[in-house]
Symmetry: C2
Subunit: 320 residues, 2 copies
Amino acid sequence: MAVTIRDVARQAQVSVSTVSRALSAPGMVKEATRQRVLDVVAGLGYQPNRAARSLITGRTGNLGIVVPDLLNPFFPSILRGVQTRAGEAGTSVFFCDSREDPATEAELVRTMSAQVDGVVLCASLLSDDTIEELAALTPLVLINRMVPGVSSVLMDSASGMAQVVAHLESLGHEHHVYLGGPAAAWSNTRRMQGLQGRAELLGSFDPNFTGGYAAAEQALKTGATAFIAYNDLIALGALAYLAEHNVRVPDQISVTGFDDILYATMCSPPLTTVHMPTEDAGKVAVDLLATLLDGGPAEHRELPTTLVVRGSTAKPRMSV
Amino acid sequence: MAVTIRDVARQAQVSVSTVSRALSAPGMVKEATRQRVLDVVAGLGYQPNRAARSLITGRTGNLGIVVPDLLNPFFPSILRGVQTRAGEAGTSVFFCDSREDPATEAELVRTMSAQVDGVVLCASLLSDDTIEELAALTPLVLINRMVPGVSSVLMDSASGMAQVVAHLESLGHEHHVYLGGPAAAWSNTRRMQGLQGRAELLGSFDPNFTGGYAAAEQALKTGATAFIAYNDLIALGALAYLAEHNVRVPDQISVTGFDDILYATMCSPPLTTVHMPTEDAGKVAVDLLATLLDGGPAEHRELPTTLVVRGSTAKPRMSV
DNA sequence: ATGAAAGCGCTAACAT
DNA sequence: ATGTTAGCGCTTTCAT
């Protein structure tokens, strides 16, 4: 069996409670005693048993994160932010992938809630009601989803999209078409708001490469000189379609993405897109969770997004 | 406070031990009793307190996974496999990102070991000695790394690379150049073995887009008609370099990748590469961990890789 | 087949 | 400032 608090107490010639205090309430023990205890702890390599601590404090020292799709490059970077900030506080992070299924999502949060102090829920597909219900079950922080009364971290999609439109207009484009994402997605709604009615809307497509490929075919028929994609994956699919049909980007058509995933810099031409502060969002989510755990109120935080101009946008040609 | 085993016992008119047995040793209680208990459990929504259980059994019901870089698309898919299989057994998964730092890696495993039943370590950069030491600390399964006496799941890189060479040779290529990965990486060594001396070796490059870009410049000077990259990211970088210098792929140069990450299908031309059964590897890793936990022996498992031919390879032209 | 009771390792009153 | 002690919720002997 591993070394316990008793072993430390014995060797440091103090009681177990002194050891406990030296470790978790340093102010309550004499400095000399504390140092002696700490030395023994280091010497023995003592690590408090989390289960035992958890049993009595009611806290687990863990937190959970649920994402819709781990394979979407957008989410690992949020995970990383969460883990980074949580790690600083000695908190461990459980993860789960709901595979874009709302029922699974709710189930995962429920299951997790028993063994974590709180959960971060990304881009949830659940109804407001269900989310409220889950928030009553366990401290909950939403990322890229807004439900009144539930803490959330938003990345300012509307502003990002507005920057896209402004950029295209400054280049001289007059006819833009929006290659939309899932109609049910909250972030799709927000991005459309950012369009301010200045783009032709083109239904909703799967937010992936295949969806973008299909979208481009339709978009081409509109005669627009600029394609504004819901996200980078759709933009990438569009790029592939255009390349195959010998439509030159950005000479003939400008294309913009959204999210700034890794591959946006690697394709050709590299994608003009909107950078999302995903890693920061993960960190802020952990902070909001901490607030909740300290009995603080639910908060909403909005992080700024920034347009990144690369090679996929340019002035429109006179003749297409 | 949540509902405890006592609440269930009281309502089901049995002792707590009977409830405990009904739940974890069904064979030891009369069927009728068991059913009654189960009904009450369902009615009350009772969930056993994991901390309490853990305190006495010494098992946490958790497992950990450490990856070198969550942002490398290769790893999330392993994570997904791990979580999928673990979830089936009611096991939760902690994750950590070592950011390619060996010291952090070891530290993370050590920290985790106290609160998990075992850990999965991916593409470790640690020395054999350190890995053995960690394996003594906690049940450990390696992915894409081989250390005698320590369980591991390998994806057969050597065979994958041999398939690449065979493919290129069948197309008629006679001069291949290998754009190598990190010299220290075990998988780089394995991939080079698969080359069977039939490619010119070109030093080691960072296993990312930038590294590939730089590698392509050098590779071009060799006069080879086929570039064999250590991984997809390097291949992608090479593709970008070649496109910028108006070298047509695959007309003038064939390029192959390795890993079959998501982007390999999205670039143009789409990449001929070697598919790695990453999700399966994650699942198998969990199985090996389970074996270890049951007191079984360390095992090595090798999963097959398969060449995926796409658009980046073709017959060499007579004149380059 | 079931119940009673003893802890698992720790923290938090409660003493001193 | 430190020690004593009673549990946290559960599993597991040991009885019956």
